[in-house]
Amino acid sequence: MEEKLSTLDPETIRALVRLVEENALTELTVEEDDFSITLKAEGAAQVIAAPAPTTQPETAPEDGLPRVQVRAPMTGVFYRAPSPTEPPFVEVGDHVEVGQVIGLIEAMKVFSEVPTDVAGRVVEIPAKNGDLVQQDQPLVVLVPEEA
């Protein structure tokens, strides 16, 4: 048991704390054999997790149709609508054109419109309104329009 504890030295724990903070995780559990450590962020109920960006530019899901992800060009807060009282820029099922705005990202009080550079049909919106998104995180998933 003591041997296993020594694998989680203070430096490792500090690295895990950084991992939780940098990715805005609410909770992180690391298990190794019969030893485990759980880190919980303070005020976790307010925290929305921002998953690490995927490196896959396209995915091939079960239906066999290609997918294209519109990704966050910068880290910031994602908004699906121009203002809280207006409808979202896009919904699942919508057809989008090249250059069409799919959402806003706010950083440093600057609101930036994020357009898609691919036309297609929206099949998934993995980023939620008000989420802190990391650069390159998928915001909207499209089935691209056939040429």
């Binding site: 903070e21 060009p73 910068m74 807060v77 950083a107 440093m108 009080k109 930036s112 802190l132 650069q135």
Partner: protein, 260 residues
């Protein structure tokens, strides 16, 4: 004293090369930012400026209303086509706030402060708000609109905000708005060029003016909140937050409030 806005008066002797060389003044409009966004989409040149005496649907962050009666404020927006990566878009708000500080110093003899990310304060109260909006393409800023609203007369400050906001007239003798706008454009052009070409100079000008630095603050990112010491600002406009455990992070929050 007449304080009517007049395009010819604003541009008379205007010492800028590209900012405000195309300038329109409107008695009223929905929002000068919306007007500039329409100009951007229509292909108008960088540096186009819209000034209004009254905004029917003036807005701040996320649909917050910005309402000032006619004649009480300076309301202007500029169309920009900066050479910025998306991650550096925060420099635009800093450039706007620093330009207002420079203009208030030169035109009114007032020493204003800034509050991260882009407010301007007189005696600790907000006298100016900056609302930048950008359109990104391929990870870069394709165009941006920088809206600036300055409370000139006390009527611009709603009574419910009197404890947190102020006007120029409460601190200095009245100055024609045309003169103030001309002075602001002359300070803004070099700051915007710094945002593009010399962001370290922008950050260096910012640091001694920012009331947030060295203070315990809470940062808000949507529903996420972080607390710590605001330790520094970098050339991309990010804030360095030092947490009680010593951990440091560079962050780009929209809202910063003081703790304690």
């Amino acid at each position: 004293m007449s304080d009517a806005l007049d395009a010819a008066e604003i541009t008379r002797g205007l010492q800028t090369r590209w900012l405000g060389q195309a300038l329109s003044v409107k008695a009223e409009t929905d929002s000068t930012n919306s007007d500039c966004i329409a100009l951007a989409r229509a292909g108008a040149p960088a540096g186009s400026v819209v000034v209004a005496d009254f905004q029917r649907a003036g807005r701040g962050r996320r649909g917050r209303q910005w309402a000032a009666p006619p004649g009480a404020a300076v309301l202007l927006s500029c169309l920009l086509r900066p050479k910025l990566p998306a991650s550096a878009v925060g420099r635009l708000g800093m450039a706007g706030a620093l330009a207002v500080v420079g203009a208030l110093r030169q035109a009114c003899g007032l020493e204003a402060a800034v509050k991260y990310p882009n407010d301007v304060l007189l005696s600790g109260r907000k006298v100016c708000g900056v609302l930048p909006e950008a359109h990104l393409s391929g990870g870069r800023v394709e165009w941006a609109v920088l809206g600036i609203g300055i409370n000139v007369w006390p009527a611009a400050v709603p009574s419910e905000l009197a404890a947190r906001a102020t006007s120029l007239a409460a601190h200095a003798p009245p100055l024609p708005r045309n003169t103030l706008i001309r002075c602001l454009l002359e300070h803004l052009e070099p700051r915007l060029e710094q945002a593009d070409d010399d962001p370290e100079a922008l950050a260096a000008a910012w640091r001694p003016l920012d009331v947030v630095l060295g203070r315990q603050v809470a940062l808000t990112f949507g529903s996420l909140r972080r607390e710590g010491l605001a330790a520094d600002v970098d050339a991309d406009g990010r804030l360095l937050l030092r947490q009680p455990n010593g951990a440091e992070e560079w962050l780009a929050p929209a809202e910063v409030t003081f703790r304690g």
